[in-house]
């Protein structure tokens, strides 16, 4: 194992960004799990966010392309367990989301039994990323991508997206 090769490859992989939320690197999103050296090639392990997220294929493609450009023969592997959680988004990633006008996720639900049904709208302690008002209303639990809910600020009236807890 050549530590320099791995750390250089990791630095390249860590700088690849999410194709939809380009303010987030795959490292800050928590998708990048590991970079290993296997003989002549490096193997990057990622964990998908949502089962059907179409950005996953682009992430894999971008990883291979960027690593190839940096001189590595690269392969991308999928790791399904443990399932990705929004808790894996780093503090730096959360700050980047805020600066880009997106509301970062709160703590993911902790379950130690069956998932409880929630008939009332989900309550979240969040603030408008533009005017920082906490007077916000949920428009829909589903947004333009699998990972986001739609909100509207009741103070500045601007709509904004919130990255969902999962």
């Amino acid at each position: 194992m050549n530590g320099t090769v791995v750390s250089t490859a990791y630095a390249v992989a860590a700088s690849v960004t999410d194709p939809e939320m380009s303010m987030l690197t795959l490292e800050d999103l928590g998708v990048l799990r590991e970079v290993q050296q296997d003989g002549e090639q490096v193997t990057v392990t990622i964990t998908p966010t949502y089962s059907g997220c179409p950005a996953m294929a682009t992430m894999r493609d971008d990883l291979v392309r960027r690593l190839t450009e940096a001189g590595f023969a690269a392969e991308v592997k999928v790791c399904l367990t443990p399932a990705w959680s929004s808790d894996w988004i780093t503090d730096r990633g959360r700050q980047a989301l805020r600066e880009a006008g997106l509301s970062p996720p709160g703590p993911a639900p902790q379950r130690d039994g069956p998932v409880t049904l929630s008939l009332a709208p989900t309550r979240r302690e969040i603030a408008c990323p533009r005017c920082h008002s906490t007077s916000v209303e949920l428009t829909s639990e589903f947004g333009a991508t699998a990972c986001k809910a739609l909100y509207r600020c009741a103070t500045c009236l601007e709509p904004f997206e919130h990255v969902k807890e999962i």
Binding site: S51, R60, L80, T81, A83, G143, A146
Partner: protein, 292 residues
């Protein structure tokens, strides 16, 4: 013009190129169908544990995958037709989650028992998950009839989605500790997604039931349409009383009794599945060597 091979089929890889070359470059990820680049289980250890029957595991994964695939397609049929934009997007999101579950489960089934995968012409680029989705007849599907039914109106769609999400979430909570680590991982991930689907359907179910006279009438009628198919679905997933408890909780909030219609008998598939597959599969089947 688009390059074609000797049979007149457009060949996107022909050396002399086409007007689309500049759009695509040489990036294989642009091809959604007929490439293995997107294998959702790439690098995952898909060996079946010794104490499990591979054919049985594969058949079970195929059934779970088919249910997700068929309902995903039904929900996608709402795209641009839902009552408002937010629900259009919500149904499309749920459809996408289910499509993702279907891809993982069909891939898992194919890896556990390759004999399930329909044979395609030599050299066909179609990966196993797509061969299973697009090249099986209706009779070879393992889906439950409840997911096959036409959508009906929005109320019937919500009633079906509620029953589906309640039963599937209960099943996936159990499957998260399945002896097959691949199925267990797919289920554990699915639980988090299905929790959002179940909440969405349950909230709309109560809203429609407690809304106007017309919304309640439609919900009652929609629930009666899908109710006879519930027991077959519950049986396929072998869920226990936990699903019944959640269902009773929603019915109580909606001030509704269980419909007074018995379970449908018999087995097999609905005619609706054949029509759906005819539309879903026609292009793929016409081009078994195609890349899209």
């Amino acid at each position: 013009m688009v390059s074609t091979d000797s049979t007149g089929t457009p060949d996107p890889n022909a050396g002399h190129g086409s007007v689309y070359d500049g759009l695509l470059g040489d990036d294989d990820s642009h091809w959604a169908f007929g490439t293995s680049f997107e294998d959702p289980l790439a690098g995952v250890d898909t060996r079946v544990p010794d104490d499990l029957d591979a054919a049985e595991l594969a058949g079970f994964c195929l059934a779970l995958g088919d249910d997700a695939l068929v309902l995903s397609h039904r929900l996608a049929q709402w795209c641009s037709n839902a009552p408002d934009l937010e629900d259009d997007i919500a149904l499309a999101n749920i459809s996408l989650d289910l499509l993702g579950q279907a891809r993982l489960l069909l891939s898992r089934a194919a890896a556990a028992d390759p004999s399930l995968v329909p044979a395609l012409p030599d050299g066909s680029p179609v990966p196993a998950e797509d061969a299973l989705a697009y090249f099986r007849e209706a009779a070879e599907f393992r889906s439950a009839r409840i997911v096959e039914l036409e959508n009906g109106d929005f109320a019937q769609t919500i009633a079906r989605l509620l029953l589906f999400a309640i039963v599937r979430l209960a099943a996936f909570e159990r499957l998260a500790s399945h002896a097959d680590p691949v199925l267990a991982a797919i289920a554990a991930k699915g639980v988090n997604e299905l929790a959002y689907h179940r909440d969405y359907a349950a909230r709309w179910f109560v809203t429609l039931a407690q809304g106007t006279e017309e919304s309640r009438r439609r919900l009652v009628a929609g629930l009666a349409q899908v109710w006879p198919y519930l027991s077959e679905f519950q049986g396929a997933y072998a869920v226990g009383s936990e699903a019944e408890e959640v269902l009773d909780q929603v019915l109580a909030a909606a001030a509704l009794d269980r419909p007074a219609v018995g379970p449908l008998t018999g087995t097999g598939h609905t005619e609706a599945l054949s029509r759906m597959l005819a539309e879903m599969q026609v292009v793929a089947r016409a081009h078994p060597m195609g890349q899209w």
